[in-house]
Each structure stands twice: as structure tokens, then as C-alpha cells.
């Protein structure tokens, strides 16, 4: 039993890391632009299919490198053409727009690549477990965690030590002041959106390797990411990261004891957080109320 627990906690951390990757992108966009990006799951799916197409031509690692970039470019374009006109308007509009965009992306993937699941090839040396006992630690999943950790570290480095990152962080707190200081907030929001979508694309390219490709791939991952953000606290990326990991572990553990509630559990957590600590675990008080 204790082994089962241990396995599921560690396994939960692995899945949690994946949720966190998706939630971080979502959170960045929400923090700076106030846009709840419903299409985030759609972008993730697109990233996965981009990776699928590229992998046949330039191999697994090439695909992993390029696919997220392609997704990000599309993200930049979408922000520029569709999202930008909505800044300053009720968040309702951007929510509805991305909601519709999610329809288009998911259905578009189905139209282009068909409704079935094309097979995705991962290098053989990554596909087997590293140890017979810890069989759930496959090469691929360890690789995925390493990549997620690297990506998150890089993200926090960018946000804390580069000019772009510092501006994004400042803009998250007070965009107006930032713009009076002569920073071009349009470009800033554009790049930030692209960065968020890049993370979605990366999550997608990774998901292609351990989940089956299907047009609905990203949709099921979207809600846990929302919950991760609220639990972690709006406005705090560290909180989002924590929220994602917590959700992964909670789902893993519930699956052992009461599998029927394995999806509902995160919403119970959400309810508790809203009652006990409305601003979320690491959220700033009074933000976005």
C-alpha cells in the first residue's frame, strides 16, 4: 500500500508538472492582458499536431524544438489580429472570442488531419522504463519532467533578469504606469501572449509523445489548468506552478482510493480554497477582484 501511495505521489508530480506547464502559459496571458484564454487547449493540440508533422521530416528533437515556435508564431498573429481590439473592453469579449477560437482550432485540426489518431513515434531509447520497480519512470516521462523544469527555470529567468521579463512583471502590476514610462505595451502584450502560447505548444509537443493524438487532446487539459491558477492564486506564477503540482498529486491519490472522484477532487480543492483563502495560495490580496 505504501508503495502504491509513493508511486502515485511521484506519478502525480509528473502529471502535475505537465499541468503546470500548460497553466503557466495561461496564467501569463491572464496576468498581463486579463484574457482568459479558452483557446489554450486548442493551441496545445495544434502544437502536438505540428510536432507530428515535423517529426516525420526532421525527427523527434527537431519537432520538439520547432513545433512550439510555430505555435507561438500563430499565437502572435492571433493576438495581433483578434485579441488586440478587445483590450480595455469587458473580459467577457475576449473570453467569448477565445471560446470560439477553441472551436475553430479543434475542428480545424479534425478537418486537416482527420478525426482519428495518427501514430506518434518517440525515439526507442526513451520509450522504456528506467527501472523495473519504478516502472512508471519511463525515459520519456523523465525527459519530459526535465524539460518542464528547464522551461520553467528559463521562464523565471526571463521574467526576473531580462528587460522583456521585467517589463512583463511590471506590466502585470500596473500596465498604465508602464505605458506612461514609454514602454510599448502593445508589443509587450503581443510578445507575452506569444510566450504563453509557446508554452502551450511545448506542452502539446510533449503530450504527443505520451498521450494519443486527437483533436480533443487539449480540451480535457484546460479545466485543470484553470483550477491550478485559481488555487495557486491569480497573479502569481509561482502559485500557478504550485497549483499544477498539487492538482497532479491530488488526482493521483484520489485515483487510488476513490477513482470515481478523480476529476471532481480538484473542484472540491477549489471550493476549499475559495472559502478558506479566497486569494489563492500565493495570490496577492485584492488582485483582479
Amino acid at each position: 500500500m505504501s508503495q502504491l501511495l509513493l508511486f502515485n505521489v511521484s506519478n502525480g508530480l509528473i502529471t502535475g508538472a505537465f499541468y503546470a506547464l500548460m497553466a503557466l502559459g495561461l496564467s501569463m496571458i491572464l496576468n498581463l492582458s486579463g484574457v482568459i484564454n479558452f483557446a489554450h487547449g486548442g493551441f496545445l493540440t495544434l502544437g502536438a499536431y505540428f510536432a507530428y508533422v515535423l517529426q516525420q521530416r526532421i525527427g523527434f528533437f527537431g519537432a520538439l524544438l520547432i513545433a512550439p515556435m510555430m505555435t507561438a508564431v500563430l499565437g502572435l498573429l492571433v493576438e495581433r489580429v483578434l485579441i488586440r481590439p478587445l483590450y480595455g473592453r469587458d473580459p467577457l469579449y475576449s473570453l467569448l472570442l477565445t471560446f470560439g477560437l477553441a472551436f475553430i482550432l479543434v475542428d480545424g485540426v479534425r478537418i486537416i488531419w482527420g478525426p482519428g489518431s495518427p501514430p506518434y513515434q518517440v525515439p526507442e531509447w526513451l520509450t522504456s522504463p528506467l527501472s523495473a520497480t519504478y516502472f512508471f519512470l519511463t525515459g520519456y516521462r523523465v525527459f519530459m519532467v526535465v524539460l518542464v523544469v528547464t522551461a520553467v527555470a528559463a521562464l523565471f529567468y526571463v521574467l526576473n533578469y531580462t528587460k522583456l521579463g521585467l517589463r512583463i512583471r511590471a506590466g502585470t502590476k500596473d500596465l498604465e504606469t508602464l505605458s506612461t514610462l514609454g514602454v510599448n505595451t502593445r508589443i509587450l502584450r503581443n510578445l507575452n501572449f506569444g510566450l504563453g502560447i509557446y508554452l502551450a505548444g511545448l506542452a502539446g509537443a510533449l503530450a504527443a509523445g505520451f498521450l494519443g493524438l486527437s483533436p480533443a487532446l487539449g480540451t480535457s487539459l484546460l479545466m485543470p489548468s484553470f483550477v491550478a491558477i485559481i488555487i495557486g492564486g491569480l497573479g502569481s506564477l509561482l502559485g500557478t506552478l504550485l497549483g499544477g503540482l498539487l492538482i497532479g498529486v491530488a488526482v493521483g491519490l484520489t485515483t487510488v482510493f476513490y477513482p470515481a472522484a478523480s476529476e471532481a477532487v480538484i473542484y472540491v480543492m477549489l471550493g476549499l480554497v475559495l472559502v478558506l483563502r479566497p486569494r489563492g495560495l500565493l495570490g496577492e490580496e485584492g488582485r483582479l477582484h
Binding site: P85, Y93, L95, G100, L101, F103, D107, E263, Y267, L270
Partner: protein
Amino acid sequence: MNGLKQHYAKIIVWAILLTIPYWFTYVGGYLGLANEIVIYALAAMALNFLLGFTGVLSFGHAAFFGLGAYGTALTIKFLVPSTLVGLAVGVLTATVAGMIIGALIIKRRGVYFAMATIAFGQLFFFIANRWNSVTGGDDGVGNWHRLPINLGFAKIPLFHNSLVYYYFTLLMFALAVGAMGLLLDGPFGRSLMAIRENERRARFLGINIELHVWISFVISTAICGLAGGLLALLDNFVNPRDLRFDLSGVLVVMAVMGGMRSFWGPLLGAAIFQWLREVLSSHTPNWQTYIGIVFVLVVLFFRRGILGFKLSTVKS
């Protein structure tokens, strides 16, 4: 002047709704579609009571719609074989859920409120989807049907006569919409609009914002539940899709498309949306793409909705 216009609008709307079974087929519709339109319009108008007239965005109203549907279906199937009792239980279920969820999130605003409603909405989806022994899980609740209403001296044949069921739906619609219209025309409704227009000013006029928003939320969820119950009775079936987040988005888009600030806007939005979906899905398998495009176009070009003129409901 404005009052006169509204008066005419009311007459036209009711004339259309009352006569639609007799001419809808000539323009390519059918009775079932008309019935669906009335039901979704009721849900969208209930949502708009909150969204358009209180200024609070809920993106999780499908949950209450679905709870109404499940409450109705399960009651009729397992507890009391009565259409009216089923519907009442459905509405009650949605209302109680609305009270609890409302109390949990009422202090949040804007994006935070929207996200919390989305998330809580999904909780009910997962309960319906996984609690197999009660809800039938993904398969939904079938093998029951709406029953005739026994008035003692006569039976209303709801089940076998879809036309009768249409008018039953329309009666419920009229009661609920009438109640909302009455409220919006009175001081309570004006307090809600005050909150929408300027929360700070409303607060400093002594209006208890949380209490008012909560009541508005509960009214909205109760009527949404009624609509859900009516849909369950129309299909003689419910399944978890009736409370999935997709539907929440659809209800919002109906309200926005028709015009959030207009009382009848969501009805128009629902009619257009359901009709579009019907036409598109029978002409192309790619209909969801087009629905998505409709969303985008509505946001970019129909900011105020089709009936989006400024409506000074608060007259002197």
C-alpha cells in the same frame, strides 16, 4: 415614445411565439426547433438577467441548466411520475446549487468570478458524468418520458402531442420571462442596473451589492434550471452534455449576439444561433468551425448585439 416602442415589441414577440407552429415549416423550420429555441432563449434570458442587467459574467450557467434537467429527469424516472413535480424539483435543485455556489463566489468580480463559475460548473459535469448509479454517467438518463398533466377534469396530453408540449413550454416561458420583466421594471431591478452601471455609486447609495448580486444570481440560476427541465422533458432524455462548459459559452453568445442590454435580445440570439446550428450541421460536417467563426464575428462586430440600442429602461 420609447414605452410605446417596447409595447409594440412585446406584441410582436408574443404574436410570433404563439403562431410559430403554424408557419415555421414554411421557412424551413420545424416544431422541435421552435421548441428548442424557446427553451434556450429562456436560459439565455435568465443568464442575461445576471449578465446584461446586473453586469456580472457567469460562464458556468450550463451547470444550473443541467441540474434542472437532471432534477426533472431523475424525479420523474425514480421518484414521482409527474411532469410538474419533476419540473419543480429540477428548478429547486438548480436554485439550491445557485444559492450555495453564489455564496461562495459572490465577492469575486470580473475575470475571477468568470473563472470560478467555469470551474464550479465543471464540478457538476463530473458528478453527472461519474456518479453512474444515480445519473447513468455518460449514457445519461433515458427510458422515461414526460407524462400527461391530470387536471382532474381533463388530461393535457403532453407526451404524444408535441404541439401541446410546445404551448406548455411557452406558458412556462411566459411565466418566467414575465417575472423577470416585472422585476426589472421595479425598484429591485433598478438596483441591479445601478450595480451594473456603477458599482461604487450603487454601494454609496446604500445598496448592498453582495446581497443584490446574490439574489440576481439565484433568480438567474433558478430560471436557467427551469429551462433545463423543459429541455429534458422535450428530449425525454438528459446527459452530461447538458451541463458542460460548452453550453455555458453558447448561452453567453446567444445573449451577446442578440444584445445584452435588451430584454428580448437573447431570444433573438437564441433563435439565430439554434437556426444557424441546425442549418450548418445538416449541410457540413465542419459546422463547428463555422460556429466558432460566428463567436469571433459576434465579438468583433456585434459588440452591442443585434438589438443593441441603448435601452433606457429606467425612465422618469
